[in-house]
Symmetry: C2
Subunit: 240 residues, 2 copies
C-alpha cells in the first residue's frame, strides 16, 4: 500500500489532469449532475477539481469531439441536447452494427463464445426474477459488448459504447420493467439460438429486431418533443 500523496503523484506520472478531468466531467454528465443543455462553467469546474482552467478546456475539446458537449464561441460549452430524430439515428447505427455482428457470429462463433453468451442470458434471467434492475442492466451491457467483441471488432465495440453514452444523454438511464426485462432477454435467447444454429440470416434478423424493439419501446415511452421551443437553449441539439 502506498501513501495517498505518493499515489496521487504516481497517477500524475501516468495520467494527465486533462484526461482525469475529462472522465470527471463525463461522469457529471452521465450521472445527470450536469443536465442536457446546461452550461459548463470552466472556472467552477476547475475549482471543483482543484486544478486550473487549462486541463479543463483540453478535456472539454475531447468531449466535444465525442459528441457529449457543444461549444459556442465566446459563450462556452453546453451539455449536448439530443433530439428524438438524432436518437433515432443513433439507434439505427446500433441496429446495423448489431445485425452485422450477429450474422458474423453465426458463421464464426466458437462453442466457448456461445457458452459465455448463454451464461450471460442465465445471469440476466436470474436478475429479472430477482427484480434486480441494476444487475440486469450491467448484464445487458456486457452481453451486447460481447456480441460486438466476438465479431472480433474492438472498434465496433467502442463505437457502440459511444453511441450508448450519447443515447443516455437523451433517455437518462431508461428503467426497464420486469416484463420488459423478460421480453428483452427472450430476444437475447433468440439471437444466441440463431447464432448457435449457424443461421446467418436469422441471426442478423434477430439482432436487428432486438435493438429495433428497444428503440420502439423507447420512442413509445418518450413524450412528443415538448413545444417550449422558446426555451433558452432550445437549439443546442447538434454540433457545428
Amino acid at each position: 500500500m502506498i501513501a495517498p500523496a505518493l499515489e496521487a503523484l504516481d497517477i500524475l506520472r501516468t495520467r494527465t489532469l486533462a484526461s482525469l478531468a475529462g472522465e470527471a466531467i463525463e461522469r457529471l454528465i452521465v450521472d445527470g449532475e450536469l443536465k442536457a443543455g446546461e452550461h459548463l462553467n470552466e472556472l467552477a469546474l476547475a475549482a471543483r477539481l482543484g486544478i486550473s482552467r487549462g486541463p479543463i478546456r483540453e478535456a472539454i475539446r475531447g468531449l466535444e469531439r465525442g459528441g457529449l458537449v457543444v461549444t459556442v464561441v465566446n459563450q462556452g460549452s453546453f451539455v449536448r441536447k439530443i433530439s428524438a430524430g438524432e436518437a433515432h439515428e443513433l439507434y439505427e447505427v446500433r441496429i446495423a452494427l448489431t445485425g452485422y455482428a450477429c450474422a458474423h457470429l453465426a458463421q464464426h462463433a466458437t462453442t466457448d463464445q456461445i457458452k459465455i453468451l448463454r451464461d450471460l442470458i442465465k445471469r440476466m434471467s436470474a436478475a429479472q426474477a430477482a427484480r434486480d434492475a441494476a444487475d440486469y442492466y450491467t448484464g445487458n451491457l456486457e452481453f451486447h459488448a460481447r456480441l460486438m467483441d466476438f465479431g472480433g471488432n474492438r472498434r465496433a465495440v467502442r463505437i457502440c459504447d459511444e453511441l450508448g453514452q450519447e443515447l443516455n444523454l437523451f433517455r437518462r438511464r431508461s428503467l426497464v420493467s420486469p416484463e420488459g426485462m423478460k421480453a428483452s432477454n427472450a430476444e437475447h435467447a433468440d439471437i444466441v439460438r440463431a447464432i448457435a444454429a449457424g443461421d446467418v440470416a436469422r441471426a442478423r434478423e434477430a439482432g436487428e429486431a432486438h435493438i429495433r424493439r428497444g428503440m420502439d419501446r423507447f420512442e413509445a415511452s418518450t413524450p412528443r418533443p415538448e413545444t417550449d421551443a422558446a426555451h433558452k437553449n432550445g437549439d443546442r441539439t447538434a454540433k457545428g
Copy 2:
C-alpha cells in the same frame, strides 16, 4: 469585399484558434506532411501557425478523441499508426453500415434519390474513361456519402467519414487503376439496380460486397507488415 484585417477579426469572432488549429493539423496529417508515428511538436506547430501552445493543445485533444493522434504522458502526441488488423476492423464497420443503408434504401428510396445515384455513376464512368482519378475519387466519396445519407442518417455519414479518415492514415490515398475504377463502378451499378428493384437482401449483399472487395483489394496490395519491429515508434498503433 471586406478588408483582410477586418475579415480576420470576423473569423476570430466566429471561430476559435483551437478549432482552426485542429483543421490545420488535420490537413497536415491527411496530406501526409505529418507521417504516421511522427511526433507532434507543440511549440513548432504553434510557431508555424503563429499562435501559442494553448489552442494547439486543445486541438490535439480533439484529434486524440477522433483517433488521428495518440498521446503518451510527458512524451506528447504522435500521428496514429494504424495496424493492418485495425484497418480491417474499420473496413468491417463500413461494410456493416453500407450494407444496412443499402437494405434500407431498397425499401424507402425515392425515384429522385435513385436518379441522383445513377447520375453519380455516370459521372464516375466518365471520369474512369478519361482516366481522371481525382474526379473519380470525389465522385466515389459523394456516392458513398449519398448512400448513407439517403438512409436519412447523418450520423452514419459522419461515422463513415471519420472511419475513412482513419483509414487514410494507413493507405495514404490509395490510387486506383482504371481497371479498378471500372470494376468498382460496376459494383456501384449493381447496388443501385438492387435498390431500384426493391430487393432488400440483394441490395444489402451488393453493398457489403462492394466494400468488402475494396478491403480485399486493399489488403492484397498491402505488403505484409514490415518486420522492422525495432523501429522507434513501432508501438504507436493504438490509443489508451
